[in-house]
Structures are given as structure tokens and as C-alpha cells.
Amino acid sequence: MWEYSDKVKDHFLNPRNVGVIQDADGVGEVGSIACGDALTFYFKLDENGRIREATFQTFGCASAIASSSALTEMVKGLTLEEARKITNDDIAHYLGGLPKEKMHCSVMGREALEKAIACYRGEPEKKVEGQIVCECFGVTDRDIERVVRENHLTTVEDVTDYTKAGGGCGKCHDRIQEIIAGVKGIQILPKKKPEPLTNLQKIKRIEETIEREINPNLQKDAGRLELVDVDGNRVLVRLGGTCAACTKSHITLKHYVEAKLREMVTPELVVEEVHS
């Protein structure tokens, strides 16, 4: 169960300003039903250009509803210039804090507000800025850079809490890490994919691993392993010493020898025993 503040509970159970403003000056829509939360934010200005009325409709969890409700209260009486300065952290703060995993609800509030202001100013609907990084939730590199900078985020997990990016299949975690490093001014060298081994290199490494790693260990129990042949990724071996007679030797082969060779040489290897 989430630990929600009393203020979150209050704004969830008694949400302020739910509804639609038919002749709104600005409307901002964010999120989608597929993502699990969505917010439409409306505002109406008075004659002095201050927000007279603000309302919302939200599909989402308690903190999404509470963040929306809080936002409509916070912007009342502000000019658009003033409203624009509201950050997601201000929304969370107003609510007495949000669980870390729910910070994306406050980010959604800030985004809806910005969209509504842009809508009022007649700014064209911004095309997706930047490149999509997280395809599961449609989050761009620009979105991520911004939350990292504004909220001093340091880990992929933080970024997921604030934007949902990386919360689905997880394929974009490396890219998110790079973006965080970019914002912090650290350069990360892309992980080099290991060059495929030539047959000769592969056999050499298998031999080395058996001699330096595996046999010294087996010798503790007076066992020994002999390399017979390498056929593609099949490593043919013969067991000697006590191993030859041991009933558990097939376990040693799979769980130790094969695992070790996969770790030290290449993960495709399969070890097979040859009986002499």
C-alpha cells in the first residue's frame, strides 16, 4: 500500500474543480488510457489576464487525481507568466510530498499546464520534440533531460519514477543512463560489442581457461579435465582422475565447467563429455 500524505488523500477523496469549462481559454491534454493515466486541464482568464477558473478531468490513480486537483487550486489567481513557473516539484510539495514512484503524476500536471498555456497563445501543437527513448510510454530524450535537470535525478529508477520511461520492457535503460550522464556532463563510452572470436582464438581461450581455472579447481578433488576437440560451439571433453568415476560428474560439467567456459570465452558454448 502506498503511503500517501493526508493532503493527497484529501484531494483524492474530495477533489476540487472537477469538470469541463465549455468556453475555456486554454485546454491541455496529456497521457493516454494505455499508459494508465491521463489528464485534461482547462482554464479561463479574467479581464486582467489572471486565471479565474481552472478545472480538470483525470483518469488515473489516487495521486494522479490529487495532483490534478492540487494544480487547479495552485494556479487560481495567477497570470500565465506566473503559472508557467510552477514545476512538478511545486505540485508534489503542495500535496505534502508524493511517494517517489508516483512523482510522474506531478510531472503530468506540469505538462498539462504548459500545453494549456501553449493552446491559449495559439502556439502550434508541438510536434514530439526530440527522439522517443521509451517506446512503451512514448517518452522522448528531451522529456528525460528536463526532469533529470529540474529534479536532480541520478539513476534510471529515478527517471522511471518521474516519467515512467524505462518502466515497461526495459530496453531503453542504457539510453536513459547515457542521457543522465549527458546532463551531468559525464561522458559514457558506448559498450563495445566484443569482436567475434576466430576459431583459433576460441580454442586457445578454451585451453587457457581449462588449464588456468578449471583444472586447478578439479585437482583439489584429484579430478582432471582433458580437451578433446572443439566443433563450432561444442566443446568435447574427457573426464579423468576421480571425475571419471564420480556419479555427479555430469553436474560438474554443466554447472561448473560449462558455466566457466561460457563466462570466460563465449556464452554460446555447450560442453559435452566424450567417453573413451
Partner: protein, 393 residues
């Protein structure tokens, strides 16, 4: 506030008779069942009785029962035992809708080089049996398929599947944590080699489970230690909990033998049909023809599950949700996704799970409160267009 507890697939109340049976084993009969003196020996005799009670509920013989600490331990022990006793076989077959105890273990084994097949289900949560049989091979070390699904209550035809798998000479394990005590199980009439069950799902305490291992099944222990459980699970017995599990199984057998389980089904059906008729855009997840009698997974479209749960919580109503927000993950439950439940419905899915202690009054309370809660949340939802309009996507 006394809770209106409709979350019995999560955990259950310890039955008063179970608690009563357990209490003397904390303070009075605290001997170690392995001891030579009769003070401990008496405890061993009562553990044996509990073993008989567990075996009798599922149609097994007592020495086929190993006591464990929980369902997860039973699942892990079974799967590891199968692959360790046949290390040349590198294929595991399971389903896309397993409990994390099986699903996450299989995913972790996949990373270690095992080939894992996750058999899909259809829109009603029924297993694609053709896919299952097609995927079996001589390399298959174990087939692990749950008896009943924890989220939807859908029951898989374990009797037939286990026979067919066993005929191929492949070890068959079933996670029956949600099924044992809720529906009759007779292992003698199946091809099941190993079965997991958990105490706290059938009115025994948390911290006790059991693994059934058919006589003659190759086995290697997960917890290596003393000679307890005939060397199949080391560690001093959790005596009080074992006594409790035995008593709980005896009570479950009486419940299944009487009309108790029809009463639960009637209550569940009343809850379900009334909600479906009173709340528009509502559907049941899963195959209503083959389902646990106590489980209802209901999708309230265009609202989000966590919000429903927290509003119900205000009235003391306890249930669960397959929505993303409650689980700490960001996507709806893997079970509902595997069934292809649309997002509009998956995010608003609520699981009600009843027990033999559920009363008519509790169902009435839910029926009294829930339609208003859904209506309130829908009024807030930008996707909900009332009065005959088609909701926008």
C-alpha cells in the same frame, strides 16, 4: 472498522479451530520432533498426523508430502529438483500467466541458458493446449502449469494435461496454491508428479507450505541440512504451523464435502451479476465456465483500479487490482495482458476473492457502495462520456 474482507486469494484468516490446534505447540509441546525423548517424539507423531491430513485432502499418501515454508519454496524446490536431477535436459515449459514464484524463477533460469517456453492463453484465459503439446521435446526437463489462476480464478484442465505430459515421460509440476481447499483435488486420478500448496491460502497461517512429490519421482533437495522430511528438506520443523496446516486441510475437506463451496459460488455470482447489471461498461475477466467458485475479476472500464481500491478502502472493503498503479510496476498485470484484455479494462480490473467466512451482509455492503464509487470516478475521467455516447479512446 471491521474489514469487509474480499481478498482471500491474497491471504486468508487463520480459522479459529486452526489457531486452537496450534497454540499448545508454542508453549506446551515445544519439543523437537527429532529428539529421542518422548516429549519430542509426541510432537513427531502429531506432525505425522498433520501429514496424513494434508495428503488426504489431495488424494496423496502421507510420505509424498514434504512440509516447506511457503508456496514459493515449494515451486522453487520442484522446478530445481527436476532440472538438477536431469542436467542434460535444458528446456522448461510453463505458461504466460503463472504466479511470480514460477514465472520469475523460469525467467531467471532462461538467463542462465535454459530454453523456456511460455505457453499463451486466449482471451478467456484458457490455455493453448495445442501450443503446449507442440512445444514438448525430448529436451524438456519439466512442465510447470498452475492449477488455477490467482487473478482470474480460471482453472486449467490439469488432469488431462498432466496425463499427456507424463505419458511423454516428462516431469509435471503444478502450482496449486489457489486451488487446494477451494475445489476437490484427487491426485491419484492425475499425472501430476509434484504439486505446491500454501497454508495461508486455506486458513492456516503464513510461513507454512507443502510440496507433494509422487513416489518414484527423481528429487533433489533445495534446503540441504538435517534428515528432516526424510532428507528432502533440511531444517527443524515449523511444528505449530504444520499442526495448523493439517487441521486447516481437515477443515477444507469438510468444507468441500459439504455444500460450503456452492454457497461461496452463489455469493460470488450474486456479487458479479448484480455489479454487471447495475454498472454499465463492466465485464468479467476469464472463462466463467471453468473458474474457482470464490474468485471474480471484474473490469470497470474507463476508471483506474488503484483509485477504486482506495475509495473502497474508505468503507473498509478489501480487494485487489490488476492495475499498474497498485503493483508498483507501471504496466497492468501480466495475466490480463497475456489474455489481451484491452487497456481500457485492464487498468480498471478489480479482483474480489471470497472465503467460507464471507457473509451475505458483506456482499450487500459492496453492492451498496461500489456502483457509486465507479460513477464518481467516471465523472472525473476524461474518457467517460455518459448517457449513451460512445466513450473516446
Amino acid at each position: 472498522m471491521t474489514p469487509i474482507y474480499l481478498d482471500n486469494n491474497a491471504t486468508t484468516m487463520v480459522a479459529p479451530e486452526v489457531l486452537e490446534a496450534m497454540l499448545p505447540y508454542f508453549s506446551q509441546f515445544y519439543g523437537n520432533p527429532s529428539s529421542m525423548h518422548s516429549f519430542g517424539g509426541n510432537v513427531a507423531r502429531n506432525i505425522q498426523r498433520a501429514r496424513e491430513q494434508v495428503a488426504s485432502l489431495i488424494g496423496a499418501s502421507p510420505d509424498e508430502i514434504i512440509f516447506t515454508s511457503c508456496g514459493t519454496e515449494s515451486d522453487g524446490t520442484a522446478i530445481r529438483a527436476a532440472i538438477e536431477s536431469d542436467p542434460d535436459k535444458r528446456h522448461i515449459l510453463t505458461t504466460r500467466v503463472e504466479h511470480p514464484a514460477v514465472k520469475n524463477l523460469c525467467e531467471s533460469l532462461a538467463k542462465k541458458g535454459y530454453r523456456v517456453t511460455f505457453v499463451p492463453v486466449d482471451a478467456l484465459g484458457r490455455l493453448d493446449e495445442a501450443y503446449l503439446y507442440k512445444s514438448l521435446s525430448d529436451d524438456t526437463a519439466i512442465v510447470s502449469i498452475m492449477w488455477a489462476n490467482n487473478e482470474t480464478g480460471v482453472i486449467f484442465p490439469i488432469q488431462q494435461i498432466s496425463q499427456a505430459v507424463r505419458d511423454r515421460g516428462i516431469v509435471f509440476h503444478t502450482d496449486a496454491v489457489q486451488a487446494v481447499g477451494k475445489i476437490p483435488i484427487d491426485l491419484a486420478r492425475t499425472g501430476v508428479d509434484m504439486l505446491s500448496l500454501s497454508g495461508h491460502k486455506l486458513h492456516a497461517p503464513k510461513g507454512i507450505g507443502a510440496l507433494y512429490v509422487r513416489k518414484g519421482t527423481k528429487f533433489s533437495p533445495f534446503m540441504i541440512g538435517g534428515h528432516q522430511e526424510k532428507g528432502r528438506r533440511g531444517g527443524t520443523e515449523n511444528t505449530a504451523a504444520i499442526i495448523g496446516l493439517g487441521r486447516a486441510c481437515e477443515l477444507a475437506a469438510a468444507h468441500l464435502g459439504g455444500n460450503g463451496y456452492h454457497r461461496i459460488r452463489q455469493l460470488r455470482d450474486r456479487l458479479e451479476t448484480t455489479l454487471l447489471s447495475q454498472v454499465p461498461k463492466t465485464r468479467v475477466n476469464g472463462d466463467t465456465d471453468r473458474r474457482l467458485p470464490n474468485t471474480a475479476s471484474i473490469a470497470f472500464e474507463y476508471v483506474e483500479g488503484e483509485a477504486i481500491l482506495l475509495m473502497m478502502n474508505e468503507f473498509g472493503i478489501c480487494a485487489s487490482s490488476g492495475s499498474a498503479c497498485t503493483s508498483g510496476s507501471l504496466e497492468p498485470s501480466h495475466v490480463l495482458r497475456a489474455m489481451g484484455v484491452p487497456f481500457t479494462a485492464a487498468h480498471g480490473s478489480i479482483r474480489f476473492s471470497l472465503s467460507r467466512y464471507t457473509t451475505e451482509a458483506e456482499i450487500d455492503a459492496v453492492l451498496d457502495k461500489l456502483p457509486d464509487i465507479i460513477a464518481r470516478l467516471r465523472e472525473m475521467s476524461p474518457f467517460w462520456k455518459p448517457a449513451g455516447q460512445v466513450p473516446v479512446q
